[in-house]
């Protein structure tokens, strides 16, 4: 579905991504791992349109989208940012945010802003404990980290996108909230066969979910693995690990 052909980008004189050539097929669930500074978020920026490559082409179904901006690509590509501030409107309520997310791909009208509230999602919201009137009327900034990410996920997928990108969605969450989010996410992605890209620092997570793993190091995709391969891989094969025993010795 999405093809990168020799894509490179130089930012402030430094080459962040070097000659990336890869393909994302429909239905793939690719987990991207790599050390800090490898260029993972920049790769996401290139796919979503936040940054334009210095050289190379990006194709969506054989159409050249290299020079389409983020706003234009947003109708088919959804992104969940690492910074929670960017995933919704912090000062508006949960209900207002949900209604807002439903404006995507529709012309803006002068109806009351809350009209497009996705009532069909109420059962799902109740299951996640996000459906009570109290929560619906809470400003998004007053939710807990876990609730906020869950809500952001729902908002980004109200209209299922063709490509869904998650940038370290559980990085700031405690294990319980992370589990809750991942359970919901995986179920949703499988149910809708969403083509997904997920960035994570957690190699165990990379081995546990998804259909493919890409390792990004120094601006290049150095290794690509398939689900069959993951059975024989260990975490340290991917990106190394912290040897706690050695630390304490």
């Amino acid at each position: 579905m999405i093809k990168f052909e020799n894509v490179s980008i130089t930012i402030d004189g430094k080459q962040i991504l070097k000659n990336i050539t890869c393909t994302i097929n429909t239905g793939d669930f690719i987990v991207i791992v790599g050390p800090n500074g490898a260029g993972k978020s920049t790769l996401f920026d290139m796919i979503s349109g936040k940054r334009i490559p210095t050289t190379g082409t990006i194709l969506l179904d054989d159409t050249d989208i290299t020079h389409l901006n983020e706003q234009q690509r947003a109708t088919v590509i959804s992104r969940l940012f690492q910074n929670p501030q960017l995933n919704g409107v912090a000062s508006m309520t949960v209900a207002q945010n949900l209604a807002l997310s439903n404006y995507k791909s529709k012309t803006v009208s002068l109806l009351n802003g809350i009209t497009k509230f996705p009532t069909h999602l109420m059962t799902e919201l109740d299951k996640l404990n996000l459906g009570s009137p109290k929560i619906l009327n809470t400003p998004m900034k007053d939710l807990s980290g876990g609730q906020r990410q869950l809500l952001a996920f729902i908002m980004a997928t109200i209209l299922p996108p063709r490509l869904f990108m998650l940038d370290e969605p559980t990085a700031a969450l405690d294990p319980q909230s992370a589990t809750k989010l991942l359970q919901f996410a995986i179920k949703f992605i499988n149910e809708h066969s969403l083509t997904t890209l997920l960035i994570t620092h957690d190699p165990e997570l990379a081995l546990a979910i998804g259909t493919k793993i890409w390792v990004l190091e120094n601006g290049q995709i150095t290794k690509q693995f398939d689900t069959r391969d993951t059975v024989t891989l260990s975490a340290s094969d991917l990106i190394g690990h912290i040897d706690y025993k050695k630390l304490m010795a």
């Binding site: 234009q72 960017l86 508006m92 995507k104 009351n112 497009k116 980004a156």
Partner: protein, 284 residues
């Protein structure tokens, strides 16, 4: 008793007219979070055009409509300077205000008298000395209309663009378009305020817009004592500031101290508001 009422009437009338620019500055500073300094230019533009159009025998209603559009153009200019030429918010507003000073001067000269033309205040014959009777319902109606608008889908997008412009991009909408739209609304309102003011005093003076920015900002800050949402608190804040200005004249000190006294009164009001909210926080 009658004389006190006249002073209060004047304070309320001026406060109501300026509350329109407080509404405008609420939209720019609090909703889209764009500090727009073109308020003074737009206020003058509204006044100059009103004087020009009335003396050329246009009806006041049509003139008000055209003036709102002209103000919107000033907002468009500020918005384009910021989004297309990447000028900083404050600079965009200053550039537009500076340009408008010359434009307003060319439109109406430094001073233009309305000369008894029919204005908004002639709607109800015989109440020419009780302009508050027309102003109060008119401004309240305007307040309700804007409040309704801010609760529509477009209004929601205005709030989003101020809080997180990325949200609009995520929705496939152009954040710049909505910023400019909000600036157009705000400047249209300010031009409207300037036009009503000229009808209120009977003449246009290029100096009438001097100090409008402070009046609008002070009105906004004072209104936050009574509430942070878009509503009657904006009217009250504007009227309260006019009351403070009037109060400084009552104290009969050397007139050169007036501005200092105004500043002190504002500080007192805000300090007491902060103190009372700390007090209630401790209680709960």
């Amino acid at each position: 008793m009658l004389s006190e009422w006249l002073i209060i009437q004047g304070i309320v009338e001026r406060g109501l007219i300026f509350s329109i620019s407080v509404m405008a500055i609420y939209i720019t500073s609090r909703i889209i979070r764009f500090d727009d300094l073109s308020v003074e230019g737009s206020f003058g533009l509204g006044g100059a055009l009103m004087a020009l159009l009335l003396t050329h025998n246009m009806t006041w209603l049509l003139a008000l409509a055209l003036i709102t559009i002209a103000g919107a153009c000033a907002g468009l200019a500020t918005g384009l300077l910021h989004t297309k030429l990447k000028l900083n918010n404050l600079i965009s507003g200053i550039v537009v205000t500076t340009a408008l000073f010359s434009i307003n001067l060319k439109i109406a000269g430094s001073n233009m008298v309305l000369g008894g033309k029919t204005t908004l205040f002639n709607i109800i014959p015989g109440v020419i000395n009780m302009k508050i009777v027309i102003l109060l319902p008119a401004i309240c109606a305007l307040l309700f209309i804007i409040k309704w608008f801010l609760n529509t889908e477009c209004g929601f997008l205005f709030k989003a663009v101020g809080d997180n412009p990325q949200m609009l991009t995520n929705l496939g909408k152009n954040a710049h378009t909505y910023t400019i739209a909000a600036l157009m609304l705000a400047n249209g309102l300010t031009a409207l305020a300037g036009a009503i003011f000229v009808q209120y005093v009977g003449y246009f003076s290029i100096w009438s817009s001097v100090g409008i920015l402070i009046i609008a900002l002070a009105g906004l800050i004072l209104s936050e004592t009574f509430g942070r949402t878009f509503g009657f608190s904006l009217l009250i804040g504007a009227i309260l500031y006019q009351a403070i200005i009037a109060a400084t004249f009552e104290f009969n000190v050397d007139p050169e101290w007036n501005k200092l006294i105004t500043a002190l009164l504002i500080i007192v009001m805000i300090a007491l508001k902060k103190h009372s909210s700390i007090f209630t926080q401790r209680q709960s």
